[in-house]
């Protein structure tokens, strides 16, 4: 075969095939390795859930197998209960995505494109709810807005007015979810609006369209991908959200798919297989919605929403500057100020029963720091804080690294198997975390490595559960950096790895830092996935709060929640600082 190189190659099949096969083999090693990693992280848990849906027994260690397959579990998908739960989930998902979209879209528009008063502050107001885990928000809102003992109603009654607030229903659930998922819409739409070529709007303006018509006919259609993307993301996340539904909807008998699944698993005897079957139905809903989104986007072109670093024109709001600000402040009050105040009030109040809100301020000794002392001096809290911080940082680091390697292979190479890698990476988004948590538990119990019961399994679970967000984050910035920059380093004598470390990675620093930050926040906030995996040594702050709530110790839960938010805030500031400092 070597002799052939001297001449024009004879394309004999016998010679070409082995060479091609060898090349294929060589090029498949990296994706192969990644695939193995992702398979263990993601496919195994998902596979076990699917298996469970068709099995008569939960695929616990010891009884994993293909015997006893049945379709019986799917009968519970069509019971009245699950149909009602599905309808509620759809209502809640749709309602919350539309409302979150309105809130996020409004904030994004006024901060990106208008001269509203306090624009910088409103931008922060759009992001702050990210620091409040949605279920802490839900906890606060159940304190604020329940019918009888809600602080808002008590205050109203203090003032001699009838209390009318009630969040323990579908509408309340929609409101709370929308409040805490609006930042996703805000970020995506803000990005699209800031990147949009302003010429397109100005052209419409010059060609006779008034402000409103420009908005309707040009601006909105052009940010459709961002709007659709946000809608689908929020829809998926809210439909899957367990803790908020549980806290807000649970008492009112508002059942959604995740709480239904949770209850199936929690009933006596445990109905894990049916839960798995219902989860698969939930996954199907999510997949259909995602496919719809793809089809809607495929039909049209939106190429001008590009990253050209434009300076968009700001619209003069005129006399609407103040009303717009007030609306934004209203959101800030509902999503952050009121909840934090409520938690603070509950944590400081001397008794869990609150007869009067205004009265508490005049009565001596109505407030006590006991809950805080309790929390701050508790060994459990200390350990949980350390655990949370350690797990989140390690999970965010590893998650960013893995996301980088996978995104690199998917977007920068022509290696075989890129497509499947991307799909597998995005898969956890479609699996409700409550199901994923169970799958992870089963997987890591079966796995012949001694990680179960350690913080390592938490890290693994977080890396798996947050792979989609990490992958998207890194992929977005990889796509932004021209691949010529790296190829050019290779052309100038650097090996591929050297080129990546000398050129690509430094250029991606901003993107990687923000992905890291995102994963850090998500890990700090996550409750549902670790709920199945923790042991007494490996409790996280989120678990401690849930436990206290579960044990009916709301005051301590409130105090811990506040501590929790503080830790998240500190972490985000510190890592942002560090990220910024590394920039030249």
């Amino acid at each position: 075969m070597t002799a052939q190189t001297t001449e024009r190659p004879v394309r004999a099949e016998s010679a070409a095939l082995p060479a091609r096969a060898r090349r294929l083999l060589r090029s498949a090693t990296l994706p192969g390795a990644l695939f193995v990693v992702l398979a263990v992280l993601i496919l195994a848990p998902v596979g076990l859930v699917v298996l469970a849906a068709f099995a008569s027994d939960a695929p616990r260690p010891g009884n994993v197998g293909l015997n006893g397959l049945t379709l019986d579990n799917f009968a519970s998908v069509t019971t009245a209960g699950s149909v009602a739960a599905t309808l509620n989930s759809l209502k809640v998902g749709l309602g919350a995505s539309v409302l979150a979209l309105l809130i996020g879209g409004f904030l994004a528009f006024v901060t990106a494109r208008t001269n509203v008063y306090l624009r910088g502050f409103l931008y922060l107001a759009g992001l702050v709810p990210m620091l409040l885990p949605s279920y802490v928000g839900a906890l606060a809102w159940s304190v604020l807005g329940s019918e009888n003992a809600g602080l808002l109603n008590i205050t109203l009654r203090d003032l001699g007015l009838p209390g009318f607030v009630d969040v323990n229903n579908v509408a309340g659930l929609i409101l709370v979810l929308a409040l805490y998922y609006a930042p996703y819409a805000f970020l995506l739409i803000h990005g699209a609006l800031s990147l949009m070529n302003p010429d397109l709007e100005e052209a419409a303006n010059v060609h006779g369209a008034s402000f409103g018509r420009v908005l309707r006919r040009v601006t909105l259609p052009l940010i459709t991908p961002a709007i659709l993307g946000a809608t689908v993301l929020i829809f998926v996340l809210t439909v899957e959200n367990f803790p908020v539904s549980q806290i807000i909807g649970g008492a009112a008998g508002v059942e959604t798919l995740p709480t239904y699944i949770y209850r199936l698993m929690n009933s006596t005897p445990s109905r894990g297989n049916e839960a798995a079957a219902v989860s698969i139905a939930l996954v199907a809903v999510v997949l259909v919605v995602t496919a719809l989104q793809r089809r809607m986007l495929a039909k049209r072109a939106f190429t001008t929403v590009s990253g050209k670093g434009m300076k968009p024109r700001r619209i003069d709001l005129g006399r609407w500057r103040l009303p717009a600000l007030l609306l934004g402040l209203g959101y800030f009050a509902l999503s952050a100020v009121l909840p934090v105040l409520a938690l603070l009030f509950v944590a400081l109040h001397d008794s869990p029963y609150i007869g009067t809100v205004l009265g508490a301020f005049t009565k001596a000794g109505a407030f006590t720091l006991e809950s805080f002392q309790d929390v701050l001096s508790s060994g459990v809290t200390h350990r949980a804080t350390v655990n949370s911080v350690v797990v989140s940082i390690v999970a965010a680091l590893l998650g960013t690294l893995l996301a980088f390697v996978v995104a690199y292979v998917v977007h920068r190479t022509k290696l075989p198997g890129r497509g499947p890698l991307e799909y597998v990476s995005m898969l956890p988004l479609a699996i409700p975390s409550i199901v994923l948590g169970l799958g992870l538990l089963w997987t890591w119990l079966i796995a012949p490595v001694p990680v179960y019961g350690t913080l390592a399994v938490m890290v693994i679970a977080f890396v798996a559960a947050q792979m989609p967000q990490g992958f998207r984050g890194v992929a977005a910035s990889i796509v932004q950096v021209d691949r010529d920059l790296e190829d050019s380093a290779v052309m100038h004598g650097a090996s591929r790895v050297r080129a990546i470390t000398a050129v690509t990675a430094p250029l991606l620093r901003v993107g990687l830092t923000s992905t890291f930050l995102l994963l850090l926040m998500l890990s700090m906030r996550e409750l549902t996935v670790p709920l199945f995996l923790f042991t007494s040594d490996t409790r996280l702050l989120s678990i401690v709060i849930f436990d206290d709530f579960d044990n009916g110790i709301l005051q301590r839960a409130a105090a811990t929640s506040l501590l929790y938010c503080l830790v998240i805030l500190t972490l985000s500031i510190v890592s942002r600082r560090l990220g910024a400092k590394e920039q030249k």
Binding site: P61, G62, N63, N266, S536, D550, G552, I553
Partner: protein, 343 residues
Amino acid sequence: GCGGGAAGSADATSLVVGGETIADQKLYSAAKDEGSLVFYTGGSEQSEKAVTEAFTKATGINVEIVRLAPNKLTERILAETGAKKLGADVIRTSGEDIILSLAKAGTFQKLTLPAAVTSAVGDAVKEGGLYFSGFDRVYSFAYNNAVVPKDQAPKNWADLLDPKWQGKLSIVQVGAGGSTAALTRFQIDKIGEEYLTKFAANKPRIFDSSAGQTDALARGEVSVATMPVATGIGSIADGAPITVAVPAEGAVGYPFYVGVGAQAPSPNAAKVFASWLLSKDAQKIAVQQGDYPVRKDVGTPKVGDVAFPAADSGWLYRADAKTMLAHTAEDAKRWREIFGYTG
């Protein structure tokens, strides 16, 4: 004066409580060498804390509590058992079906309890020592005394049917665990099935688990709730304005079972702890928390200043394991129909 602790015993190297040898010298010193144990429990964290802290004080052996709602706990134990990675030394949970399924899965190892203890607790030990009942928790109801004036307070089960409680009443759904199963059995068997129908007519809020309910009651979001006495007492200790009722018609008791893990990492400490749970000291703690002890020599529980009738007075309704196993599924179905609770 029962000599709580090693110091009280004549032989410094064996564990004696109230004159009963809980662990002989060999076992006890082996347990001390292990130094700590892991305790999986479905009971509430506050009550278990009181127990384990007393044990640690008495023996110097540390106990790590893993608390989970009974069903999450079951799932976890079954999974761990199957993987031969059961992290628990000692397990406590309620529900006959649960304990049976655990036993069937090979979760427990047989435990030879000290003779003195065995004779004191009688039939609480099941299946030749595979597991035993540690106490009977009482399921009664409670009300928020800040919202409900004393003269309005419900005293009997029948009082809960008063329409004035409409929308202010709550209950935990039947499938939440052994506790609610026992309550339902009691209500159907003892008070009459129409009770449930009338109760349902009062439109109670139905909580998924006792998770939110205790808090809702403490805050006054609901005024009256059926709830385990121990849970109520725990909340009261945390400052909640709750009063637990001692209804004249009686109340239901349901056993919390204890077993030693088959692969217990600290088998000796596990055995000592399990045995100690049946000692006078431990049983007294149970009494303080509102649970009926399995020993007869430590009295009956009290709430506030009201003492519960003696265990054999007929006030406490107890269904044996066989009855429970026979009725649980059917009761649950009935309950769901009555409350229009789907699932």
